[in-house]
C-alpha cells in the first residue's frame, strides 16, 4: 500500500536548490538588470501582449487534455473553461470568471459522473 517511490534525498535537495536559484534568476534578470533604462518601442509593443499570450498557452492544453482524466478530453472541464472565459469577458471581473468556472465544473461533475 505504501508504495512511496524511493526519492533520493540528495536529488530532492539538488532539485529544490537548483529551482530556487534558477527561478529567482529568471524573475530578477530584467527587473534587476535593466532597471529603468528605456526599452525600444518594438520590444515594448511585444511585451504588452505577454500576459494574454503566455497564460492561455499554458492552460489551453490542460483544458483540452486534462491530467486528471489521463489526458482524455472531458466535458465538465471544457464547459467550465468556456464558462470562465465568457463570464470574465462579459463582466470584466476575475472573481466572476472564477466563480462561473467553479460552479459549472462542480455542477457538471455532479450531474455527469
Amino acid at each position: 500500500m505504501n508504495a512511496t517511490p524511493g526519492l533520493d534525498p540528495v536529488t530532492v535537495w539538488i532539485v529544490i536548490i537548483g529551482m530556487a536559484v534558477g527561478s529567482f534568476a529568471l524573475r530578477f534578470v530584467f527587473l534587476g538588470i535593466i532597471g529603468d533604462r528605456p526599452l525600444p518601442p518594438w520590444l515594448l509593443r511585444h511585451l504588452r501582449y505577454t500576459a494574454v499570450a503566455i497564460l492561455p498557452a499554458l492552460v489551453v492544453p490542460l483544458v483540452v487534455w486534462p491530467a486528471a482524466t489521463g489526458g482524455e478530453p472531458d466535458v465538465p472541464r471544457l464547459v467550465a473553461a468556456l464558462a470562465t472565459v465568457v463570464a470574465g469577458v462579459l463582466t470584466r471581473s476575475v472573481i466572476a470568471g472564477i466563480l462561473a468556472g467553479a460552479v459549472t465544473l462542480f455542477a457538471l461533475l455532479y450531474l455527469l459522473v
Binding site: V15, R27, L31, V52, A57
Partner: protein
C-alpha cells in the same frame, strides 16, 4: 482620502488580489498532496514551495521526478515552464525599474502570474502612478496569495491522499488563469494574441522540455504586436 499614500495602493492591491485566495488555496493544497505522494518529506515540501514559489514549475518537477527523469532534465524542464516570468520581468521593468534594488529583488521573488497580471493591467490603466505607488500595489497583490499558498501546501502535505478526488483541485489553475486573461481581452490585438498563442500551444505540445509553451507565447506576442501595428496604420490613414 489618502489616494496618494503607498498604504492606500498596498491595500488596493490586496483587495484586487483577494479573489485569488480561491485559487491559491486549492492549488497549494494540490501541490502538498502530490509532493507527499511523490515521497517528499514535510520539510522538503515546504522548503520547495517557499523557496521556489512557482506553482506550475513545481508540478512539472514533481511529475518528472516521479518518472525518474535525470536531475538535469528535471531542472531544465521545470525552469522552462518558468521562462515566462523572465518575460513578465521585462514587461514590468519600465514600471518598476526605478525602485531601489532591494525592492526589485523582493518583487522578483514575488513575481508570479497573479501579481504580474493584476499589476500590469493596473499600471496600464493608471499611467499617473508613481514608482513607489506601483511597488506598493505590486506587493499588495501578493499580500494574501503568498501566505495562503504556503498554508495550502502545508495543509495538503499534512492531509496527503485523504483529500477526495471529487474536489477536482487539478482544475483550479486553468480556471484561475482563464479568469485572469478574460478581462484583459479588451482590444482586437489582445484577442488575436490569445487565440494564436492557444492554437500554437495545442499544436506544439510535442516539443520536449515544455518549450512548446515558450514558442506559443512568442507567436502570440508577435501576432498581437503585428495586429497593433496594422490597426495603428489604418487609424493613421483615416
Amino acid at each position: 482620502m489618502g489616494r496618494t499614500t503607498s498604504k492606500w495602493h498596498f491595500w488596493k492591491g490586496m483587495r484586487d488580489g483577494a479573489p485569488f485566495i480561491l485559487v491559491a488555496a486549492p492549488f497549494g493544497m494540490l501541490f502538498g498532496v502530490l509532493a507527499t505522494e511523490a515521497g517528499f518529506k514535510l520539510l522538503e515540501t515546504m522548503t520547495f514551495t517557499m523557496s521556489v514559489f512557482a506553482g506550475a514549475s513545481q508540478f512539472t518537477a514533481l511529475q518528472l521526478m516521479q518518472e525518474s527523469a535525470p536531475t538535469i532534465i528535471v531542472l531544465i524542464s521545470a525552469l522552462a515552464v518558468t521562462l515566462r516570468v523572465a518575460m513578465y520581468s521585462a514587461s514590468l521593468a519600465p514600471y518598476l525599474g526605478a525602485a531601489p534594488l532591494w525592492q526589485r529583488a523582493c518583487a522578483a521573488y514575488l513575481l508570479v502570474d497573479q501579481s504580474y497580471a493584476l499589476s500590469v493591467s493596473r499600471f496600464e490603466t493608471h499611467p499617473d502612478m508613481t514608482t513607489s505607488q506601483r511597488m506598493a500595489y505590486f506587493f499588495g497583490t501578493t499580500g494574501l496569495i503568498a501566505p495562503i499558498w504556503y498554508l495550502g501546501s502545508l495543509f495538503g502535505a499534512l492531509m496527503g491522499s485523504r483529500i477526495p478526488e471529487a474536489w477536482a483541485l487539478d482544475f483550479a489553475m486553468p480556471v484561475a488563469f482563464l479568469a485572469m486573461v478574460a478581462p484583459m481581452l479588451r482590444t482586437l490585438p489582445h484577442l488575436i494574441a490569445a487565440l494564436i498563442a492557444s492554437i500554437v500551444a495545442l499544436l506544439a505540445v510535442g516539443i520536449p522540455f515544455n518549450l512548446g509553451l515558450i514558442v506559443a507565447g512568442f507567436c502570440g506576442m508577435m501576432a498581437g504586436a503585428q495586429a497593433e501595428l496594422v490597426m495603428g496604420r489604418r487609424k493613421g490613414q483615416t
